[in-house]
């Protein structure tokens, strides 16, 4: 219940952002929550948080829908260290820290040059390949690659600078 209450709105929002279809978004969110349950035995909390796992599953399955491919064709992204620790227990600070994180991410994304922001958003939420983005934006693929790299590096630096996730050395097992 807590897990659903905490992340259903974010999961649904991500699915809606990608799919723009309430029915399909519901399907994807349902799949993701069920996946947590049915694959619980294979979940390693050392590798990342439930939130990251859940939202990654929602995003990936949504993109699969868009691209018309089945889930088994995708090798799931590995769980990554969490931006902030996540507990399913009641934690009065959780909402505060999550909100701070949201604000930081929005600030960080908003601070990106428009063409870099567009490149990562088209890829992440639109499911477009770098060559498709190159065609859409009328620039060489190498430019798209560069924009993606710069955008993610800046985002990383911004969030790291605010202490929102560990450094590489801290993230290592």
């Amino acid at each position: 219940m807590e897990l659903y209450d905490r992340y259903a709105a974010l999961s649904y929002a991500v699915a809606m952002r990608v799919l723009g279809d309430p029915g399909r978004a519901e399907d994807v969110v349902q799949e993701a929550f069920l996946k947590i349950w049915t694959n619980a035995a294979g979940f390693d909390p050392k590798k990342g948080s439930l939130r990251t796992w859940l939202i990654t599953a929602v995003r990936n399955r949504s993109i699969d829908y868009l691209r018309g491919r089945s889930a088994h064709e995708r090798q799931e992204l590995e769980l990554q260290p969490e931006l902030a620790s996540t507990s399913i227990h009641s934690d009065p600070w959780h909402e505060v820290s999550l909100e701070l994180e949201r604000m930081a991410v929005r600030e960080a994304v908003g601070s990106l040059p428009a063409e870099q922001r567009q490149a990562v958003q088209l890829a992440y939420f639109g499911g477009y390949s770098q060559s498709e983005i190159a065609d859409m934006t009328h620039v060489p693929i190498s430019t798209v690659k560069g924009r993606m790299r710069l955008a993610l590096e800046k985002l990383s630096s911004y969030l790291l600078g605010r202490g929102l996730y560990p450094t590489d050395s801290e993230a290592s097992p």
Partner: protein, 249 residues
């Protein structure tokens, strides 16, 4: 540009899943053997994983909770052997009896029960996920039965998921025809003696589907049936013979 430089320049696109299969395979092989690129990938993936937080949250429809609940229950019972088939008992015409006691005030209790059971299920999932609990034994905890439509409800069906331990059941209906104005569907539990107890009143969605929570144990009942009754509260006793029903065994 060296091979490393060339591939490293593509790492961000790979992290964002923006490469075709061949390119992705090439860079995966490279990253597997390149410590520098592994660090870069880890860093960029953390950044990419933050992107969803940019999205404004949207509350999903309330029915999604019900859907997940039913699907979770179904998944949970997938490891449980089906209830042994027994001779089917169809309610005979004229066996309806006035109920001595019929509760029509169950909806709040049902919703509360739904929350409790959902909490159990999702809590179980999360608990398992973080390694706090082991999966509890499920044998004989869950059973599934089927309701079959006849007559005007020939296209309808229902799947009953009986969560025995929790003392509740879910019925996942599909193919229900739209109701006439001023009508509702009413779910009945029928004792072996033919006595019907009202279990729920509901209206299906536009697709003819509905998940109904029955907030009481099915012990002591032999059948489940659906009739069409007057809105909003249904009827104290069935006003017609059911056209959607099935045995609870």
């Amino acid at each position: 540009m060296s091979d490393h430089e060339e591939l490293e320049s593509t790492v961000a696109a790979w992290v964002l899943d923006a490469l075709d299969a061949d390119e992705a395979a090439s860079i995966r092989v490279h990253v597997d053997g390149c410590a520098t690129c592994q660090q870069t990938v880890a860093r960029l993936r953390r950044a990419a994983a933050s992107l969803p937080l940019e999205v404004e949250e949207i509350s999903p429809p309330a029915r999604l909770r019900e859907r997940i609940y039913v699907a979770a229950a179904a998944a949970r019972m997938s490891t449980v052997p089906s209830a042994p088939a027994r001779k089917r008992v169809v309610p005979a015409r004229g066996r309806w009896k006035p109920a001595a006691y019929i509760s029509f005030g169950r909806l709040p209790a049902l919703l509360a029960a739904a929350s409790v059971v959902l909490a159990l299920l999702i809590g179980l999932a999360a608990g398992n996920a973080i390694g706090r609990n082991s999966v509890p034994p499920v044998a004989a905890q869950v059973a599934r039965y089927h309701l079959v439509g006849h007559g005007t409800l020939a296209g309808a069906k229902g799947t009953v998921i009986n969560l025995k331990v929790e003392g509740v059941a879910l019925v996942d209906f599909s193919g229900l025809p739209p109701l006439a104005k001023g009508k509702v569907y009413q779910l009945w539990l029928i004792t072996p003696g033919g006595h019907p107890d009202s279990a729920a009143v509901f209206v299906p969605d536009s697709n003819g589907g509905k998940v109904v929570l029955v907030g009481l144990p099915l012990n002591g009942y032999s059948q489940m049936a659906v009739t069409t009754e007057d809105a909003p509260d249904g009827s104290p006793t069935p006003s017609q013979q059911p056209e959607l029903y099935g045995p609870l065994a």
